[in-house]
Assembly symmetry: C2
Homo-oligomer: 611 residues x 2
């Protein structure tokens, strides 16, 4: 066994010799950044060995760390096997809390029609002349002989009745009594809606009787230790039951953190939370429920289930009322999950007339097209560029991220989140930066940065210093090291532009194929809805400039915020909307892009910058 001490967090743990340092940190409860599931390709999991041997640097470390850094003791934690006692300095994540608007949806007023009901009752005391059993006495009073009761609640009923003067409050879900509380707690009825994202998990606490959101909270999805993308996580889960359980434990643990946060904010007792409604992509749904996701990964991408699953909170270890129920909304296909279904619910695409596309931009882009009474959906693998991953200096949308870049009056205007010194580029900044470089004529239609030496006439004098040679082509300096938080230049690299092209090309190609299938031209669209936090931040003009979206007037592009989350909140607040959600998979046609003969051609065409 080796002893590890992590500073400045001051956490200690003893691990078997040979344990991976990144996993050891996870065991100790520390969060270390990383996108590549320990493959050594992202270089983000760096830590500093303050005491103890660093060992020889691996190839990956040599690539991602400078000589100076190596000599100071910096290592990539994913590359290190613990062989002796170490003191490890973990860089404090400057990650600011997610911006409030990241959690917000576009739906302002919820329809209230809760699926759980509370009834306070006062029963007559039994007597020799009326020996009716306690449960039957209760059901008779409720005039609901059809109800069953959880054994857990029945077990203590006799004492509860007698200690509370035969006054109790029952909570009924469907035809089951899921909880019996002493006294009158009829006004205490809460639920939590979750949006289980691959990257971020968000929760909203609702007062179900008022149909109001009373708190929101979010956590990074800690499954990312097994990879930033769903395929890595599916692959890990498919190794065995224990591995599947590891992934389930991670997401449940994060959900419990969010629950605790929501309850802390509002002083609501956990036993007064009776329902959870969750949405997420199909792999997230499987991992949350602990269902084998193995066959989602290879063609033909088959989920274990499509329908909504209902399970007791206690069966999943979710820390609300143990009889509380958890619903995961249904998925449509292997890569079109209940998050997309949430978008449809929140935007009423299944009920409104007109020709309308919704795009939920993420590592997987999900697209829905509604027209002529049909609903069609597909998913397209955009990669993690929009989340700031696999971008040289990419980062999540938190303080210090370059979020907006405009080319105005012959110069670049750059701003960061919270106006903090620049630390990297987030997704919206990436699109903006690319669009601004297009506007400045520094990128050609194929997405290549102009070589200032070969084409001096195309590059304005004042930008010449900002184009420098990097790995695999030129880089454009957005923020010089002198102004940045890290002291390093914040750059947009040729590689970053390629990642962006692949990402936006995948999205645009997906939409083109949906339109083709419905025999529509993109100009016929009445609206394009941008779902997800990303949609709130991306400047429409930039998205149009780089050709992420069809060539429509900007007013037809509408950001609808976290519509997936909206959908989960709506389905939590309203039984009838929930039933609408349950029926949706049967109404949405799923298009599998991977089998389309025409995909490659349309995709290649969609790679180019500009319309």
């Amino acid at each position: 066994m080796s002893k590890l001490k992590f500073i400045p967090q001051n956490k200690e743990i003893a691990v078997e010799s040979g344990t991976n340092l990144l996993k050891a940190a996870d065991q100790a409860g520390l969060y270390i950044e990383g996108d590549c599931a320990g493959k050594g390709t992202c270089g983000k999991c760096r830590v500093k060995i303050v005491e103890g041997e660093t060992g020889k640097p691996t190839r990956a470390e040599q690539k991602h760390l400078s000589e100076e850094e190596l000599s100071e003791g910096w290592v990539l934690s994913c590359q290190k096997k613990v062989k002796n006692d170490l003191i490890v300095e973990v860089p404090v994540q400057k990650e600011a809390p997610l911006r409030k608007t990241t959690l917000a949806g576009g739906v302002e007023k919820l329809e209230g029609d809760p699926a759980v009901e509370k009834i306070a009752v006062k029963l007559d005391r039994p007597a020799v002349k009326d020996q009716t059993a306690d449960l039957e006495r209760l059901l008779k009073h409720l005039d609901r002989d059809d109800l069953t009761v959880e054994l857990r609640e029945l077990a203590g009923l006799p004492g509860m009745l007698r200690n509370n003067n035969f006054s109790v409050t029952v909570t009924i879900a469907g035809n089951r009594i899921i909880s019996i509380e002493p006294g009158d707690t009829g006004d205490q009825l809460f639920g939590i809606a979750f949006d289980i994202g691959t990257t971020t998990i968000m929760g909203s606490l609702l007062d179900l009787q008022k149909a109001e959101i009373i708190a929101v909270a979010a956590e990074t999805n800690p499954q990312n230790i097994y990879g930033a993308d769903v395929i890595s996580r599916i692959n890990h889960a498919s190794e065995g039951k224990e591995e599947l359980k590891q992934l389930q434990d991670k997401v449940i643990e994060a959900a419990n953190k969010i629950i605790k946060d929501l309850l802390r904010q509002t002083k609501v007792a956990k036993d007064r939370v009776f329902e959870i409604v969750a949405v997420g992509n199909t792999p997230m749904s499987h991992l949350f429920m602990g269902v084998d996701p193995t066959y989602l990964a290879p063609a033909p991408f088959i989920p274990a289930y499509s329908r909504a699953l209902e399970v007791e909170a206690s069966a999943l270890g979710l820390e609300i009322n143990p009889g509380g129920r958890v619903f995961f909304l249904p998925n449509i296909a292997g890569y079109v999950g209940s998050d997309t279904l949430g978008v449809i619910l929140a935007t009423d695409m299944d009920k409104r007339n007109g020709k309308r596309a919704a795009i939920d931009i993420g590592t997987n882009g999900e697209l829905v097209l509604a027209a002529n009474g049909r609903l069609m959906a597909c998913s397209t693998a955009a990669g993690p560029a929009f989340e700031g991953a696999q971008i040289k200096q990419g980062m999540r949308a938190s303080a210090g991220a370059v979020e907006a870049v405009q080319y105005i009056d012959g110069d670049f205007k750059i701003s960061t989140i919270d106006d903090a010194p620049a630390r990297g580029i987030c997704g919206s900044g990436l699109i903006d930066a690319a669009a601004a470089l297009v506007d400045a004529g520094l990128i050609n239609a194929t997405g290549k940065l102009i070589n200032p030496e070969e084409n001096p006439e195309q590059v304005d004098e004042k930008f010449r210093q900002r184009l420098k040679r990097g790995e695999g082509g030129f880089e454009f300096i957005l923020v010089p090291g002198s102004d940045s938080d890290t002291g390093n230049d914040i750059v947009l690299s040729q590689g970053d532009l390629r990642e962006l092209q692949l990402a936006k090309g995948a999205i645009y190609a997906g939409l083109k194929i949906l339109l083709k299938e419905m025999e529509l031209d993109e100009k016929e669209l009445d609206e394009v809805l941008l779902a997800g936090a990303f949609g709130n931040y991306v400047r429409k003009e930039s998205a149009l400039t780089i050709g992420l979206l069809p060539g429509l007037p900007p007013e037809k592009i509408i950001a609808v915020g976290n519509a997936a989350g909206d959908g989960s909140r709506m389905a939590l607040a309203s039984q009838s909307i929930r039933e609408r959600a349950f029926a949706l998979p049967g109404k949405v046609e799923h298009l599998e892009l991977s089998t389309r003969q025409d995909f490659q051609e349309i995709f290649v065409d969609a790679l180019k910058f500009g319309q």
Copy 2:
């Protein structure tokens, strides 16, 4: 801590100093006899301290153990606190297995109409052109879109399908898939019926497709460490959640032993057992389910529930298929349980014409009267005399128990179970012995043994030596010490006769009150059914002689065997009979004897021996 070693079982355990020796033995997994829940009144929990200090004898020990026994190291284990290391000899219980007939009922052919169904399916493989999810594929094949599936079964479905060429067998209960097994196991469908007695727990394994009993097994109810009677157990359970759990654990543990035994006998795999149907008195039902029974003990004797409870086997820790279901049949009142309901089912009392009484004789006697389209039931506290408890040399009906005593041709003919040397008297022997003494003129109508000194003319010369003075009156020697297993005389004491009178008086008085309530005379009865193992062994003539039963011709007295157990087997084998059982509590009128003004008078009248 003190170390204890029990011989000859060779079990060792370390316990806190001060631990009660009887409890320590229980912790070590040893069964020590006893009826009084450690009060020191029954004297049956004797063990011998072979090494270590015995401590001072308590008053209870002085009463139950001779000087010689005390000097040899004998103690009552319930009286001893462990203070140092001990080696303790535990007398090996000579208890023979229960007689086969104890388990047998009167119902020979079961009606087969199982509530669970197995369907073997072979599904088409998915393809890109048919991306239907696994679960939906299965439900589509079954043409049962209404079915829900246990998450436990769904979790591994994708792998199971692909590893078994898409051939699986589903088990459906109601609208739930409770199990999915690889391959075709359609012919493997089993269930277990339990009769949870206060003293003995019996189980029967049924092949549900053939509606056949394929094995039976029984265990002593190990709750008896907390008292032989239900009131002691209710009192213990009412002390707190932990105490309730202790009692539940005991009965579940015994049920699991029976399950193991049944599976061992038949080589059936535990995962192929999908249903359990149990009957038992109301307190046993509560303790089995872990529901607070506190308010069953004091007036007005209110159960927590009356209806049938359904729960997953895994929730109770019962070791059958984890998705298997457990039903405890409904109870009628605090002291008229589903065992009585089982008697009604098995004897068709709810369906047949005629005037008929059924009597289930036990510590609690339960009585049912059916006449003129009405069904009425009551319970009456007979005490444990019929089980051989609180009888000086009482014992359960196992080898060596005096089971039959007849007065023929001027002498007593005495036989024991298995013709083994006499060890004590069981319930049927007690009734027989009393009846024989009545026949011989050695007991008067008030139940008093004749004093041979005062009334020499009433006592035949040859019996004079067999009447000896004991505590609280005379004793009659049934078997002299020279012929007995223990070397001591096996006697029937005046105290035993008093216990018997109280027991039989309670039963008979209960029946009289039922008859009175229905305005019937006992002579109008077409039949009196004797339920329970006891009914198989008691000689009708003796029962009539002592006035346990109404004065009817013997041919109207019919032993129906373990009818409660029969009822559980019938309800297990048949869904329609189970539903009949669920509806029965609403059809049976319950009479609470404790509130009857006339009970005492009728009871006192019913005490006398003879009609």
